[in-house]
């Protein structure tokens, strides 16, 4: 791809249009199975775009995105089956609810250091899943049936999903390329330096977290209406890991990466499901989780910025190689001086 073409493709509006047009065009020529796969990939991509913002730009890790996805799905399910509200209303309610949950979790946990924060989001995901299983409103383990669709056919859902992805990509691209995007990068790079400039890193992270939660809930809401049936087995820790893997595989700082990551992992998903079912039916879920865990570890060690951005970052890393200190710095001499002082004081 030429540089010029890349330049145009980096325009947020152009990228958003492409994100909508390409899957839609594909959907019109392929069969119904692929339309449904494309729709599912779109939903994942929407979550991954949010994760991208939180992980790739704000530099944090969330292991609880399935919880927000579930909040969105159950909001649509409950609003429509229990209260007879239109799924649109449930969708909006779910996004608001997810934002509130993310805000609360953020207030409680976002001043934690990175690893503890990841654990807090993990705990949230598990608590959310237990709530989906236990609450009478969510239909317990049997879930909710007969969730009405947005009066859309398969292609309509495909368009709705990727339309949402396009909006999400437009939003995050504009954000990360703004001056405020530089502030996100500042938080990722050094929270101490950011605080010394007068910004509260926790506030910035909390906002990125809320955006990621809202996008996940939107995807979950569309999912519930599209599937027509939800139960707690969908919104588990395995899904959260799956989503993190998609974000990491694709690359943490690119919308294209989000699409490729979601599609790639979903393809592996299908292969593993098929392979697992024929090789070891009883343990196919465990097999999947094991392989994902391994993949995640390997990628985080060798390509911490993700596969797609990792390749680009390698050349950049060469250019941004550490500052070159003069061989004999003032500092170096000074250290010797300091030791002399210590010796003098002791004697």
């Amino acid at each position: 791809m030429s540089r010029q073409l890349l330049g145009t493709a980096r325009n947020p509006a152009v990228q958003a249009l492409l994100v909508l047009a390409i899957p839609l065009a594909l959907g019109l020529v392929v069969g119904p199975y692929w339309v449904s796969e494309l729709t599912l990939v779109g939903m994942y991509t929407l979550v991954v775009i949010g994760l991208n913002l939180f992980m790739g730009y704000a530099g944090q890790v969330s292991l609880g995105q399935a919880g927000f996805f579930g909040i969105g799905a159950y909001a649509v399910g409950i609003a429509s089956t229990h209260f007879g509200l239109a799924p649109w209303i449930g969708l909006v309610l779910g996004m608001v609810l997810a934002a509130a949950a993310a805000w609360l979790l953020g207030v409680l946990a976002l001043h934690l250091m990175q690893h503890y924060l990841a654990l807090a989001t993990l705990a949230f995901g598990i608590i959310a899943d237990v709530a989906f299983q236990q609450l009478p409103l969510t239909g317990g383990n049997s879930g909710l049936y007969g969730i009405p669709a947005f009066t859309l056919n398969a292609i309509g859902f495909l368009a709705l999903t990727w339309g949402a992805v396009a909006l999400g990509s437009w939003f995050t691209n504009r954000l990360v390329r703004s001056g405020t995007g530089s502030l996100l990068e500042a938080v990722r790079s050094s929270e101490v330096a950011t605080a010394l400039m007068g910004a509260d890193p926790a506030t910035v992270k909390r906002q990125a977290f809320i955006v990621s939660a809202v996008l996940a809930a939107a995807a979950g809401g569309i999912y519930a209406s599209w599937e027509g049936y939800i139960d707690p087995t969908v919104f588990t820790f395995a899904l959260s890991i799956n989503l993190v893997l998609m974000a990491v595989v694709g690359g943490l700082r690119s919308v294209v990466g989000a699409v490729l990551g979601a599609a790639g992992v979903e393809a592996i998903n299908q292969i593993l499901k098929f392979a697992g079912a024929s090789l070891a039916p009883a343990t196919s879920g465990a097999l999947q989780l094991t392989i994902y865990g391994l993949a995640l570890v390997v990628i985080m060690i060798y390509w911490p910025e993700g596969l797609v951005t990792g390749l680009g970052a390698r050349s950049r890393a060469r250019r941004t190689a550490g500052p070159q200190l003069p061989l004999q710095s003032v500092d170096g001499h000074e250290r010797d001086g300091g030791q002399v002082v210590d010796g003098a004081q002791r004697s």
């Binding site: 001056g179 405020t180 101490v192 210590d342 003098a344």
Partner: protein, 269 residues
């Protein structure tokens, strides 16, 4: 006539467990003054700066900015109140450009809502546009005027130090704490930074300067405080401090000559 103390440090003590890193240190700084903070390694200079910016909590004591206590405040709140700081190892943001580094600093003060920025709401657009103009203006008046578009990580080390100082100035601080701003610089670059420090003082700000290169501190500081083992052992003009018996014994004595020679030797490299 009323004396305007910009920064008052009163009995500041920082203890980590049983180790007292800063022990009952008190001094005051006026607007338009450069205060050198010197002392042998481990004297508690950086810890003092960490305490003034709430990166470590005060065990005792009080810090006042223009007469109002800021002790117990968070780091970012202190920064917004007007105490800016650079770090011993410059923490620039290497993966974004010099101009974006400045933008991040300027926008830190207001921290716009991410949602408003992403949606392009008018308030966010105005805020971003103002920040952009300010970044351009600050860069135009700086020594990095031709490097706005470069990745900060690509800058030579001396320019990274400069960038960090300019980023701190973007806060429009009343007090600027510089932690070894000359370390690792060539003699020429050090001269540039010293000139910048004089310029900052000229604008009515107070500068606290921790620096190992004594000749430079003696040249630029109006007054000097000397720390040793966490305690303030002397305070006065450069001439007074150089004459002080305590200081000669624990700090300047035999090593002064060495340091001067070493410092200049190092800067000449």
């Amino acid at each position: 006539m009323q004396t305007e103390w910009l920064l008052e440090v009163e009995g500041v003590t920082v203890a980590f467990g049983g180790i007292v890193a800063v022990d009952d240190v008190s001094f005051r700084v006026r607007a338009g003054e450069v205060l050198g903070v010197i002392g042998p390694n481990g004297a508690g200079k950086t810890t003092l700066f960490n305490a003034l910016t709430a990166l470590v909590p005060l065990s005792h004591g009080d810090v006042k900015l223009s007469g109002a206590s800021v002790s117990g405040w968070t780091t970012h709140r202190i920064a917004r109140a007007g105490i800016a700081r650079t770090l011993q190892t410059p923490e620039i943001f290497p993966q974004i450009t010099v101009r974006e580094n400045m933008l991040a600093a300027i926008l830190s003060r207001q921290t716009p809502w991410l949602i408003a920025v992403g949606l392009g709401l008018p308030s966010a657009r105005r805020c971003e546009a103002r920040a952009g103009e300010e970044a351009d203006r600050l860069l135009r008046d700086s020594l990095l005027r031709d490097e706005g578009g470069r990745l900060a990580g690509d800058l030579p080390f001396g320019h990274q130090r400069l960038l960090e100082i300019y980023r701190a100035l973007a806060l429009d601080p009343r007090v600027l704490l510089l932690d070894e701003p000359l370390s690792g610089l060539t003699r020429e670059e050090a001269g540039v930074v010293l000139g910048l420090i004089r310029q900052i003082r000229g604008a009515g700000r107070a500068v606290l300067l921790v620096e190992h290169d004594l000749p430079s501190v003696l040249a630029v500081a109006d007054r000097i405080v000397v720390l040793a083992e966490g305690r303030l052992i002397a305070e006065g003009t450069p001439a007074e401090v150089q004459r002080d018996e305590n200081v000669r014994r624990v700090y300047l004595g035999r090593e002064a000559g060495q340091e001067r020679a070493a410092g200049q030797g190092g800067m000449a490299q």
